[in-house]
Symmetry: C2
Subunit: 372 residues, 2 copies
Amino acid sequence: MPNQSMTDRYKIRRDSLRENIKSEEIEGLLISTEKNVSYLSGFSGDSTWLLLTADSELLISDFRYVTQLEEECPGVDLHIRSSKTKMTEALAEKVAERNFKQLGIEGHSMTTEVFDTLDKSMERVELTSICWKVEELRAVKDHHEIQEIREAVRLAEKGFAYLQAILTPEATEQQLAYELEHAVRNFGGDELSFHPIIAVGDRSALPHYRPGKLKIAESPILLVDWGAQTHSGYKSDLTRTMLTAAFPDPKFETVYRTVLEAQRLAIEAISPGVSCKKIDAVARDFIQKAGFGEYFDHGLGHGIGLDIHELPRFSQSSDAPLEAGMVVTVEPGIYLAGWGGVRIEDDVLVTDSGCEVLSSVPKDWDSVRVNI
Amino acid sequence: MPNQSMTDRYKIRRDSLRENIKSEEIEGLLISTEKNVSYLSGFSGDSTWLLLTADSELLISDFRYVTQLEEECPGVDLHIRSSKTKMTEALAEKVAERNFKQLGIEGHSMTTEVFDTLDKSMERVELTSICWKVEELRAVKDHHEIQEIREAVRLAEKGFAYLQAILTPEATEQQLAYELEHAVRNFGGDELSFHPIIAVGDRSALPHYRPGKLKIAESPILLVDWGAQTHSGYKSDLTRTMLTAAFPDPKFETVYRTVLEAQRLAIEAISPGVSCKKIDAVARDFIQKAGFGEYFDHGLGHGIGLDIHELPRFSQSSDAPLEAGMVVTVEPGIYLAGWGGVRIEDDVLVTDSGCEVLSSVPKDWDSVRVNI
C-alpha cells in the first residue's frame, strides 16, 4: 500500500503540471499516455486515462483494475466504465458533466483515430493538442526517481559482471542476452530495460543490431549495450565495447581512444544551464577532428527514466538547457561498416554544480581486453 | 538471406492490400505502424515507413538500418534519410516528387502530432485516415504464419511443462514468471509473448494481475496466463487454472466446470462465416444461465499473430464473420473478487470446415490438481 509520502509525491507532480500548463486555454487536460498516467497517479496498470483540472483529478478505467487502482491511488477519484462503454464514450460523458468548452489532449501520443472519435463525440468541446508537457516534467527527476535509477544502474552492473564471468568462445550473442536478463532478474531487477544489443565483430557497427547466432570467438570485437529496469519501471542504459582477442588492426585502439576521450570531454562539459546541442557538439567536434566525423551519425545521448528514451535529447539541434535532476546517457560511437564499431555509454546525473556519473563499469583502454 | 519464396510472400501481401484499398480515393498509402511495415516488407527493425502506391513501394529509413534493410528486403526501393532530416520531412519530400494530391495514412496508429506535422508540411496533399486495413489482412494468416503460431504454441507448452515440473511451495509468482521465460528461450523461443499473469489465490480474480511476491503455498489456486514468441515475432496465448491443494469451497469445481463447458461450446461453434459476437454469446449465455454472468466481464477472445491482440475480437458487439485462416484465443473466465478466478484459454485455428485447437495442455477437471 502506498504510504502518505508516496501519495504526496504524485500530488506534487500533478500540481507542477498544473503550474506548467496554466497559460494554456483549456479547462482540463486528458492524460492518456500510459507512463504519464503512472507518473502522475502511481497507477502501474494500463488502459486508464487521467482527466486533470485545476482542482480535481479523475481516473477512468475498467473493472479489471478496480482493486489495483484502490490500492495504488488512494484519494484519487475513480470512474469505472462498464465493458459496454468505450473509453472515449466514458470520457465524453465525464467531460459533458463538467460542461467543459476546451479540453487539452496529449497530441504526441493520441492517435488520429481516437482524436477524430473524441472530436465527433464532444461537439461543443474544442480539443487542443498539448504536447510533451508531462514528459518535460519527467525530464527532471525527483529524489525517489534518482534512487530508482541508481538501483537500475546497480542491477545493470551486477548483470554485466555476471555476463563477463560466463563468456566462453562458444557462447552466442543470443544466449548471452538471455543469460543477462536472467541474471538481472535474479539480482532483483524486473527485466532488461530494452532488447540488449550484443554484437560480435562487424555487427558492432550496426547501432541497432539484435543479438543473433554469432559466437563470441568469431571475432575479437564484442559490443554490449544493455540496461536494467527496476520493479517500479525505472531504467538504466550502458554500453561497453570489448576485445575478446587481440584485434589485428591497430586502428581499433585509435577508434576506441577517440570515442573514450569524446565521452570524457562531453561529460566534463555537463552542467546545469548548458544547452544539449553544446554537449553534443563537444563530443562531435572531437570525433570530427580525429577524422571520424562521418562515422558518428546519431545523437550523443538522451534522458532515461520510465522510458528508455526521454527528454532531454543530446542532438545537434536541441537548444534545451540541462537542469539539475536530469539523468542522461552519454554515448558517442564510431561505426565503420564491415569492420566494426565502438560505442561507450554511461548514465549521468546533472547536479547543481556539474554532474555525477552514476555508472562505474571500467572503460579505460587497459580494461578493454577480456578473457573468454 | 530471404529466399525467393519469402520475397514473394511480401509481394503477395502488398498486392492484397492494394486490392483491398483500391476503392479509396488515394494515390498512395503511408504504412507507419511498425508491425505492418514488417508484415508487408519483411523488415524486422523499427523507425521505418513504407510508402505504397498502385505500382511501387518505397521504404524510408535511416543509416542505422541500411545493412539490415538490404538483407531483409531485397528488391524493395530504399530511401535513407540523413540524421538531419526528420522522418516527416523525408516523407514530404518523396510525396512531393510524386506529385500526390491524396495520401492515405494509418490513423489508428499515427499520432495527432505527426498528422498535424505532415498536414502542415504537405500543403497540397489531402491526408485521409485509412484505418486497420493491414490489420484486417493480418487477421487471416497464410501458411507460413500458421506454422509460426504452431511453433509459438509448442514453445509455450514446453515452457508450461517445465513450470509445472519446478513448482514448489516456496516459489513466488515472480520467480516462476522469470523461470518460464528462461525456459521458453532455452527451448528455442525469443521471449514470452507478453508479461505473463501468474496469480496465486484471490489474485486470480484480477484478469490483468502481474506476478508478485505471493508464494505458491499461500493458496490452493494458481492461474497462469502465458504465451511464447518465435524469433519472427509470432505469438501464442494460453491460460490454465490449477489447484495446488484441495480447495475448501466446493463452488470451485462448479466454477471450473462452468468455464470449461463454456469454452467447449464456444470452440464447437467456431466455423467460417459465423459472426464473432455469436461465438462470444455461446460462452456468455452458458455462463449467464449458470448464474455467473456478471462475473465474466471481458470479451471471449481475440486474434493472435505478430501482436498479442489482433483482429478479430470476440466481443458482444463484433459483427465480423470468422474466416478460414484466422487464429483466435477462446478464453472465458469467472472472477469472484476476494475469492478467486478461473480462466481457461486455448488457441484455435479457423479451418475451411470448422476449427482446429492448436494447443493441447490438459484442462479437464481431473488434470486441475497439481503437485507442488
